[in-house]
């Protein structure tokens, strides 16, 4: 399909333009999600998109699936409920860096631990966009934020390390500059049976860029291009070269028992016992 047809197919009619600021990367990430769904030819009725609260989490309202715009940080418990109650549905969670790793951090590590078959796309703009620019657990040290006028001293999480340490079985990263790769790894994440984390690095020119003098939206995308390196190439860099680069692509892919499938065993055991 042509992109316009894809947009017409998977976006709810009449709800564009979206609310995001000029140049905001969220549209590109959301476009990548529908391209991935299109690529996999998923039946729309069998897809549920669950989001939290934040600029990024508004994506759910635009998409023509079963959609939930839940509460801040709570997309994963809600998504877990949808998935466990109706395992045949494909579940995509849309979340911001704050939504996923600040208030939602506990649900994140537990979804990873359970390895429940959910694909989580984290729109990482390194900031709380919706509330106007407070630092998030993914804001780099020494950044300016409205709650860090003297620069942040917090160490950020490495989302890959966190997800892996908690038990996620598929982890990928891409940027809005690498839009095709992004939609590609999202598709792989959806296909993966288990908890998949896709970190989508997305420019927030307004709440993050301005304070940190990152230039125009286009310039922020060029920075992504400059710093994002495909994993295979990244691994060949010297430690020094690595310092201002980050790996993109599929970073981790492993198999482990998936929660909803495992739960079927409980039912079998219980029903055997009961007879």
């Amino acid at each position: 399909m042509e992109l316009e047809e894809i947009i017409d197919e998977y976006f709810r009619a009449g709800r564009l333009p979206h609310i995001w600021c000029p140049g905001c990367g969220n549209g590109i990430v959301t476009g990548a999600i529908v391209k991935a769904i299109d690529k996999l030819s998923l039946e729309k009725n069998d897809v549920a998109v669950v989001s939290g609260i934040g600029c990024s989490s508004r994506a759910s309202g635009y998409l023509d699936f079963n959609t939930v715009h839940s509460a801040h940080g709570r997309a994963l418990p809600v998504a877990t409920g949808v998935k466990l109650a109706e395992p045949r549905l494909n579940i995509i969670v849309v979340s911001g860096d704050g939504d996923a790793t600040a208030i939602g951090g506990n649900h994140f590590i537990h979804a990873a631990r359970r390895n429940i078959d959910i694909t989580m796309v984290i729109y990482n703009n390194n900031i709380y966009g919706m509330t106007g620019g407070q630092y998030s657990p993914l804001t780099p040290t020494d950044s300016k934020a409205t709650t860090a006028p003297y620069g942040t001293v917090d160490r950020p999480f490495d989302l890959y390390d966190l997800a892996k340490g908690a038990g996620a079985t598929f982890i990928a990263r891409a940027t809005t500059f690498h839009a095709k790769l992004l939609s590609d790894v999202i598709a792989q994440g959806i296909e993966h049976k288990g908890f998949s984390v896709i970190e989508a690095i997305s420019a927030c020119p307004i709440s993050y860029g301005r304070q940190n003098k990152k230039g125009s939206a286009a310039h922020m995308m060029k920075l992504q291009k400059e710093h994002g390196v495909m994993l295979a190439a990244y691994e060949k860099l010297t430690e020094e070269e690595k310092t201002d680069k980050f790996p993109i692509g599929v970073l981790y892919n492993a198999q482990a028992p998936e929660y909803t499938a495992e739960y079927e065993k409980v039912i079998i055991r219980a029903q055997k016992g009961a007879n």
Binding site: I19, C21, C55, R58, G129, M130
Partner: protein, 175 residues
């Protein structure tokens, strides 16, 4: 009591303009309250900053009926002029507002505000200050002296002269 509404889009600096206007009124020894409406999500879309100014104590902090509406975008002009009455004043940025509401108004000023900022000062950034100059001239709601002082209190060091110039350019739009 004067009730002024400054409206446009997010990036035009109208919240700040409202604050400066209220601060200028304070410098004039009056009372003033500034408030603003946030979109449901504070992202993009229209933006509105309201200022009420009076010699008396001000209780109710919102505009009941506006005397003056500044509209710096077409959407804002559509959205925020409904309650302007016949004796109200509408000021638009002619660059963005093509369609004026079809209602009887005391006075309508279609001014090249952003154009003036760009042409006269090299930056559209100054459009909000240009607008304040025009408003001061049209309404006299704040003294030019206080407005100038209020503007200078708020703007980054090094831009004082350009901002003073912006006020002047704004006033000059009104012949």
């Amino acid at each position: 009591m004067q009730q002024l509404r400054l409206s446009g889009t997010g990036g035009q600096g109208l919240i700040l303009a409202g604050i400066i206007l209220a601060e200028a009124a304070l410098l004039d020894g009056k009372n003033a309250i500034q408030s603003q409406s946030y979109g449901p999500e504070a992202r993009g879309g229209s933006s509105k900053s309201e200022v009420i100014i009076s010699h008396n104590v001000l209780h109710y902090p919102k505009i009941t009926v506006p005397n003056v509406v500044l509209a710096m975008s077409q959407e804002a002009c559509k959205k925020y002029t409904a309650d302007l009455t016949e004796d109200g004043i509408l000021i638009t940025d002619s660059q963005f507002v093509g369609k004026i509401p079809e209602k009887k108004l005391q006075k309508i000023y279609e001014l090249p505000i952003t154009y003036t900022a760009q042409a006269g000062l090299g930056k559209t950034l100054f459009a909000n200050i240009v607008a304040l100059g025009a408003i001061a001239k049209i309404t006299g709601v704040v003294s030019v002296k206080s407005l100038t002082k209020a503007v200078l209190n708020r703007v980054p060091k090094g831009t004082e002269e350009l901002n003073e110039q912006a006020i002047k350019l704004g006033m000059e739009l009104i012949s």
